[in-house]
Point group: C2
Chain length 312, copies 2
């Protein structure tokens, strides 16, 4: 009895829901603000109400896929999520399953599901192993190996943001602190304090990653230097990932990718310089993410399909 | 018709051969020097003669596994191997297969096969994902994911020796240059040149990794500092691997492991300090290799079995 799959992307800001055909065509979608500042129970109730709008009447989904924040989302529980500090072991998957006829329900985190979506329908299509990297306020990642989502022993794999590098000041920084939007903002503030280089950033009250990106796009020299430095750090992270996974593709998504070649070019150059064997590299190794805001919604639908086929 | 598996470990110094039962018990083994300084054809002929000594009369092996140096050994060709500079696209697997009734023959490199052997019979038994790291003159590695040898897109995966780190002198070094025996020798020579610290190493003509290890074991302060520094770099490499693979175990083999806790303790400490989530770590994460000199011979036998079962 093939009905379809319910997909839910529960994000810190917005919740997206979709009803997918058994062959993963999107039939209906909807979205609304998550309002996570409200009590946990009313947030969950609103997710369920939103999902009811897309599930056909009298229908039990074949499976439900949920994208949710926090480590070990695969357990179905939300805990230790930066964006949901008060959610302490909340059994979100169980609550949603119960609301939809106890349909089998599979939860995962955003970067893992984005990896799955880019592999199935996006910039990593037909590539295996496929790595996915999201670079925005933080750096997350996911991987598909042998056609399967790779999550490691305890579901924690592919945290490229936490590769650590020593820097010239004798400290050790995570890649996230060196190449994310947050890192770009910090690097810029440090450079502004340490040098006299003129920069339009000096006129701004808040120097964050967004401001640096805008200034770089307008040709501001200091901002360009910072973005280029972040790109080289990103490249150093990619060097580690390529030597370890020998991926066919690394898809890079997240807001920082909007900087385009300003950040990607130094990253690619670092890769080309530091890879031990040219066989690792080729002109299609680094790709920009192809899917848009629904990437995690799509990924959660694929995950529901894959997991229920696997006999879940 | 289950006969058994022929395994060949063709190393730069010695060649080992083994005949294994269908259930991978070692029936007979033999070994002899590889004499790779001799002409290629006579080296291959001697491998075949040695192998004939262990294969029962009138028997075609069910499959043959070969451990051989160089990248992309899985192709069955030896090329670009540091230890065999004159071997340019030599079809070793084909030559050996032809000598043993065209038995299906599967070649791989040493670190990959060692990973497989430690996973099946050694320190990584029952652990998945399992990473293997060999730290001697260089640093190599292998991984088992989902019960399968993981080799990446072009068979180049798990080259942890080529993770790159910037150092305080503004250079970028590979992990291999910082934590292998070769790296330990270099770090010591640099420290001897840059400081006045007394050390028995100053009495030696050749300060290599072995000399540093021996001096460290005898309590020489400078040697101990160097080994500890190498251990911290090794730890930084492990931090990258753990955040990316979330392995259940990382088995460390190779001669540098003979330094024991002198190098492993700083590596473990670095891990404990820098892992983002304590769930990544646990007291059995880092293990010393359990199998001895026959580890690659064993691995090649397992590989022959796995690949022929897979319908090769």
């Amino acid at each position: 009895m093939a009905e379809g799959f319910l997909s839910i992307d529960f994000g810190g800001t917005r919740t997206r829901v979709g009803w997918y055909s058994p062959t993963l065509e999107l039939i209906t979608r909807d979205e609304s603000p998550s309002h996570t500042e409200q009590p946990i129970e009313s947030v969950i109730d609103r997710i369920i109400q939103l999902a009811r709008k897309v599930v056909p009447a009298y229908t039990v989904p074949d499976a439900i896929g949920i994208c949710a924040p926090g480590p070990q989302a695969y357990t179905g529980y939300i805990r230790h999520a930066n964006t949901l500090p008060e959610w302490d072991n909340v059994p979100l998957a169980q609550r949603i399953s119960a609301a939809f006829g106890d349909a089998p329900t599979f939860m995962e985190n955003d970067a893992n599901l984005a990896a799955l979506a880019e592999y199935q329908f996006g910039a990593a299509k037909g590539c295996d192993p496929a790595l996915y990297l999201t670079v925005s306020t933080g750096i997350g990642g996911g991987a598909v190996i042998g056609g399967q989502l790779f999550t490691g022993w305890r579901g924690l794999a592919i945290e490229p943001g936490h590769i650590k590098f020593p820097t010239a000041d004798g400290q050790v920084y995570s890649l996230e602190a060196l190449a994310s939007g947050t890192g770009i903002g910090r690097l810029a503030r440090e450079k502004l304090a340490a040098t006299d280089t003129p920069s339009r950033l000096r006129l701004l009250q808040t120097v964050d990653g967004k401001a640096v990106g805008e200034s770089a796009a307008q040709g501001d020299r200091l901002a360009l230097e910072v973005v280029s430095e972040a790109g080289r750090w990103l490249g150093l992270g990619l060097v580690a990932m390529v030597h370890l996974f020998n991926p066919q593709v690394i898809v890079i998504g997240g807001s920082v990718v909007n900087l385009g070649e300003l950040i990607l070019n130094p990253a690619r150059q670092t890769l080309a310089e530091l890879l031990i064997d040219p066989l690792f590299n080729y002109d299609k190794l680094i790709q920009v993410a192809a899917l848009g805001d629904d990437v995690c919604l799509t990924g959660a639908a694929i995950h529901a399909r894959n997991k229920s086929f696997a006999g879940g």
